[in-house]
Each structure stands twice: as structure tokens, then as C-alpha cells.
């Protein structure tokens, strides 16, 4: 038998490469503060060693005419295919983020490393919607008491009559000094309440999650109820060679156009209706998927 096959199919290679891969990964997650070791030459070296070991071990079994169960080949070839898929994707994949505000359009994405890529079509953000499980609403919480925030409503708390003057879900002050809503989202909720003190009408703004202005006058706190987000969706217009197409992208529901897959990966509520889309072209991800399927079938046959 070929010396090369004998050398690389040795179980010692598996032992050494496995131990070093485990040690390097433990080091990487716990101690390493710099660049990840998974992209280092020595990590790739041990992965290559493991790859060759699995490959030649399988070849050796075939050469020696050892009758191995079918699952043995499925699992081991599956692992090799996954590694090949990862390597090819790592080399050829194009992936980056596109940040769009409502009515913005672009064909530029930025990778994690800051590299810029142009995709072959433009994407315009027509709309961005946050879907909640229930309708969120503001409340004022006191000692064992809750009051719905409705403008114009009055209520008595600890012997003081309060009136809800105004509610803003994203409180900001504009250039003229007016208090306005910056976005429709609950980024900085605030409620203005008024009350009488020494026959004089006082007004205060209460902000959610912050100590209230003139706190000593009230222990009322502003809270937003039912703020659980169910989903967020971007409605996009794809503009390609003079043609336009509308599409919706939401979490766990990517959209594919040409070779590019568009994922809804984030949003920035501070910027109002704005969406973070991850756009990826990876023609080799199918190889990784095939590897996973081979391993999956292999382990099922193995356990049966």
C-alpha cells in the first residue's frame, strides 16, 4: 500500500489533530482577545491534517477490502464534503450588509472587514414594519396601581390629581424648542403630566426607564406594555435592468433574486424606518448542505 496512505490514515494523526483543534478552539473562545485562531495557518493546518486523515482512512478501508458499513462512508465523506463546502464558501462567498433608511436605494454592501461590493441590482427600501404580538401601550405605574396613558385623562394618586397632557413615543426637541416625536417607534417614550401644587399648576415630563424629573413629587413610572416584537419586515423594490420587482424580507424568511439571497438581519429604531439587510452570494453553500445531509443520513443509519 502507498506509504502516503499508511502515514495519513494512522489513528495517531486523528488523535493529535483532534486534541490540537480542541485546545485551539478552547483558547480562542476563552483566552484569545485578538484575531480569531480559526483563520490562522496552524488551525487550518490541523483541519487539513484531519481532512487527510479521514480521507486516507476511508481510502485504506477500500484498498484493504475491509467491509465497512455504508454509514461509515456516509459520515466520513459527509465531514469531508462539509469542510470542502466551508473552504470554497470562505474563498468565493460575497457577503455584506446594506443599511437602508426608508426611500433609500443602493447596490452597495459592506463586508464585516469593511470591504465594499457592488451587487448587480439596486434595492430600495419602500417600507419597514415592526410587528408586535399585541398593541403596545403606555401605562403609569404607581404603588399597586396602573393607569393607562390617554391624553386628557385625569386620575388621583396619593391624594394628588394628575392630568395626562401629552404622550410621545420617541421624545426629542426640535430646532425651535418644540417637543416632537422623532420616529413612530418606542425609542424614548415620555409622558407629560400636570398637577396642582400650592394652587399652582405644575407640569413634568416622565421618561421610561429614567428617574423622573422632579422625582420627589411622584413615584409614578412610565412603562410600555406589550412591547414584545413578533417580527420585522422590509418591503423592498428591486431595480434590475430597467425592471422593478417588489419583495418582502423578514426574519427567517430570506428572499432570493438572481444568485443573491437577501436576509432581514437587523434594524435601527433610532433612525426610524431603517433596515439592515444581509446580502449573500454563495454558490458553494449547497456543497455544505449536501455534506450535512450525508452526515445526517449516516448517523441515522449508524444509530439504527
Amino acid at each position: 500500500m502507498n506509504k502516503f496512505v499508511i502515514l495519513f490514515s494512522d489513528i495517531k494523526i486523528f488523535v493529535v489533530s483532534s486534541i490540537f483543534i480542541i485546545i485551539l478552539l478552547i483558547y480562542d473562545t476563552i483566552f484569545n482577545k485578538g484575531r480569531s485562531v480559526v483563520s490562522s495557518w496552524y488551525f487550518l493546518f490541523f483541519i487539513c491534517l484531519l481532512f487527510l486523515n479521514i480521507l486516507f482512512c476511508s481510502i485504506k478501508k477500500i484498498i484493504q477490502n475491509q467491509k465497512m458499513p455504508f454509514y461509515f462512508y456516509l459520515i466520513h465523506i459527509g465531514v469531508l464534503v462539509v469542510i470542502i463546502g466551508f473552504v470554497l464558501s470562505g474563498i468565493f462567498k460575497i457577503e455584506g450588509e446594506m443599511f437602508l433608511k426608508k426611500d433609500d436605494e443602493s447596490n452597495i454592501i459592506y463586508s464585516v472587514d469593511g470591504e465594499m461590493y457592488r451587487i448587480p441590482y439596486r434595492i430600495k427600501l419602500e417600507d419597514f414594519q415592526i410587528e408586535y404580538y399585541k398593541n403596545p401601550f403606555p401605562i403609569l405605574v404607581g404603588e399597586n396601581k396602573e393607569y393607562n396613558v390617554v391624553e386628557g385623562k385625569t386620575f388621583e394618586y396619593k391624594g394628588v390629581i394628575y392630568k395626562i397632557e401629552r404622550f410621545l413615543n420617541d421624545f426629542v426637541m426640535d430646532e425651535k424648542g418644540n417637543f416632537i416625536n422623532r420616529t413612530e417607534f418606542f425609542n424614548n417614550p415620555a409622558v407629560m403630566i400636570s398637577y396642582f401644587k400650592d394652587n399652582k399648576k405644575e407640569k413634568i415630563w416622565l421618561f421610561e426607564g429614567r428617574s423622573a424629573h422632579r422625582q420627589q413629587l411622584s413615584d409614578l413610572k412610565l412603562k410600555i406594555k406589550d412591547l414584545d416584537i413578533k417580527n420585522f419586515t422590509s418591503t423592498i423594490r428591486i431595480i434590475y435592468k430597467g425592471n422593478e420587482k417588489m419583495a418582502k424580507v423578514s426574519v427567517n424568511m430570506p428572499y432570493k433574486f438572481l444568485d443573491y439571497k437577501i436576509y432581514q438581519t437587523g434594524y435601527d429604531p433610532v433612525e426610524g424606518k431603517s433596515s439592515i439587510l444581509t446580502i449573500k452570494k454563495d454558490n458553494y453553500s449547497i456543497i455544505t448542505l449536501i455534506g450535512f445531509i450525508l452526515i445526517g443520513i449516516g448517523v441515522v443509519l449508524w444509530i439504527l
Binding site: I11, F14, V15, S18, I19, I21, I22, L25, I26, D28, T29, I30, S36, V38, F86, E95, Y133, D228, I229, K230, N231, F232, S250, V251, N252, P254, K261, Y263, T265, T278, K280, S285, T288, L289, F292, I295, G296, V299, V300, W302, I303
Partner: protein, 252 residues
């Protein structure tokens, strides 16, 4: 709701104490009582799970509290299955006797959340991913504790029983990693992000792959020691990563 977990905690502590007494004094009747107490504590927990799921209107799989609950039920069910299959040797239930109070204590410390699923978790993959991961942890933990117990026993039978548990644990872990990777691809566009939880799952996978490959080449004692050490990999992957390293999986 709390009263059910507290009841389970109380009965599991009683079961553990009675088992210790049985072990030290060999009072046969204590063996049965301890077993009944243990079964009762998990029966109450099962009822609690059903009530909890009804309140949530979903299967509880989305945070640490919910996964610990599922993990505990899986561990006991697996342990009970092997107990019934192996001539009802009470020693096989040692993992349950000693882990049950711990699990119920953790459930007491953690707060249940009645919040609905966050957007990223609203996927059919959640069920398969979490169930396979929790099953793998359960098999590995039981095998590890039984391996530890075997270190102090003279007869080393059940060697293959522990191998079988390890194999099923490895099978489940493999499926857990694959389902997680496929889900990640549909949610974030990549199978693998080298997130600490993913990395530690891979470390654990390598570790158990190593044990399974070395099984015929190492002594039974070393096999048991390696299984026991494996528990630390599981605990770190499950708890340690969340509290020390964070990442995309920090909520589970």
C-alpha cells in the same frame, strides 16, 4: 406554579436522602420509597410542564429556564428507561437521585418568563434544534455520572450500556449541530459564525468523536474517566458559554 417546583424539589431531596440511607444501611424498603419519591417529583414536574406550556401557548424551549426544565425531564426519562431495561438496578438511577435536587434548585433560582418568542426564534427549526441538543446533553450527562460511579465498582459490567448512551448522545448532538447550522443559514445567511456556543458545541462534538474512535483502544477505566470529564464540556457548552462568553445564543 412555584409550589409545583418546590414540591418536586422537596420530594427529590427526600428521595436522595432516602437513597443515601438505603446505600449506607441497606434497608430494602428505603429503596422503594426513594424511587417512588423520585418518580413523584418528576411526575409533578411533567404536570408543571404541561400547565406551563398551556400558559405560554407554545412548547417551552426558548430560554435557559425552559431548556433546563426540558433537560431535566429528558434526563429522568432516559435514566428511568435504562433502569427499567436493566433489571431495575437502582444504581442506574444514581444520576437522577443526585441531579434532580440540583435541577429543581436551578429552576427555583431562574425566573420563568411568559414573554412570547423573539423574531429570530420563530422558526420550525427551534423545536428540532433544541430537542436534539437537550437529548444529547441528557445522554452525555447520564453516561458521565454512571461512568464516574463505575470507577468505584469492582465489576465493570454495563460497559456497553454507557457506550450506547454515548453513541445516542453523539447522534443527537450531530443532529443538533446540523439543524442549528441549517437554521442559522436561513436566519442569518451563514451556516457557521464561530459564535461561542457553536464553537463549544463543535469542541464537545470533537471530544465525543474522539472518545468513540478511541473506545476499543483505551481501558474501561479510561473510558469512564473520559465520559465523566465530558460532563464538564457539556456544562460549559450549556451554562458556561451563556454566562461567561455570551454571543448569539446567550438567551438559552
Amino acid at each position: 406554579m412555584d409550589i409545583m417546583i418546590n414540591t418536586s424539589l422537596g420530594f427529590s431531596i427526600l428521595a436522595m436522602i432516602l437513597y443515601i440511607f438505603y446505600y449506607l444501611k441497606n434497608f430494602e424498603f428505603l429503596k422503594k420509597i426513594s424511587l417512588y419519591f423520585l418518580i413523584f417529583s418528576w411526575f409533578v414536574t411533567l404536570v408543571y410542564l404541561v400547565v406551563f406550556a398551556f400558559k405560554l401557548t407554545r412548547i417551552p424551549l426558548s430560554n435557559q429556564y425552559e431548556s433546563v426544565l426540558i433537560l431535566g425531564i429528558f434526563m429522568f426519562a432516559i435514566n428511568l428507561y435504562y433502569y427499567l431495561k436493566n433489571n431495575r438496578k437502582i444504581e442506574i438511577l444514581i444520576p437522577s437521585f443526585f441531579l434532580s435536587p440540583l435541577i429543581f434548585s436551578i429552576l427555583n433560582i431562574l425566573e420563568p418568563s411568559f414573554r412570547p418568542l423573539m423574531p429570530a426564534l420563530r422558526s420550525n427549526w427551534l423545536f428540532f434544534h433544541v430537542i436534539t441538543a437537550m437529548l444529547s446533553y441528557s445522554f452525555f450527562i447520564i453516561a458521565g455520572i454512571l461512568g464516574f460511579v463505575k470507577l468505584f465498582e469492582k465489576d465493570n459490567e454495563n460497559h456497553y450500556l454507557l457506550l450506547k448512551m454515548t453513541k445516542i448522545g453523539f447522534f443527537m448532538l450531530t443532529l443538533g449541530i446540523i439543524t442549528g447550522a441549517i437554521w442559522a443559514e436561513s436566519a442569518w445567511g451563514r451556516y457557521w459564525s464561530w459564535d461561542p456556543k457553536e464553537t463549544w458545541s463543535l469542541i464537545t462534538w470533537f471530544y465525543y468523536a474522539f472518545i468513540l474512535h478511541m473506545f476499543k483502544k483505551i481501558s474501561k477505566k479510561n473510558f469512564y474517566i473520559m465520559l465523566f470529564i465530558g460532563i464538564f464540556f457539556i456544562i460549559f457548552t450549556y451554562f458556561g458559554v451563556n454566562y461567561l462568553l455570551g454571543g448569539l445564543h446567550s438567551y438559552v
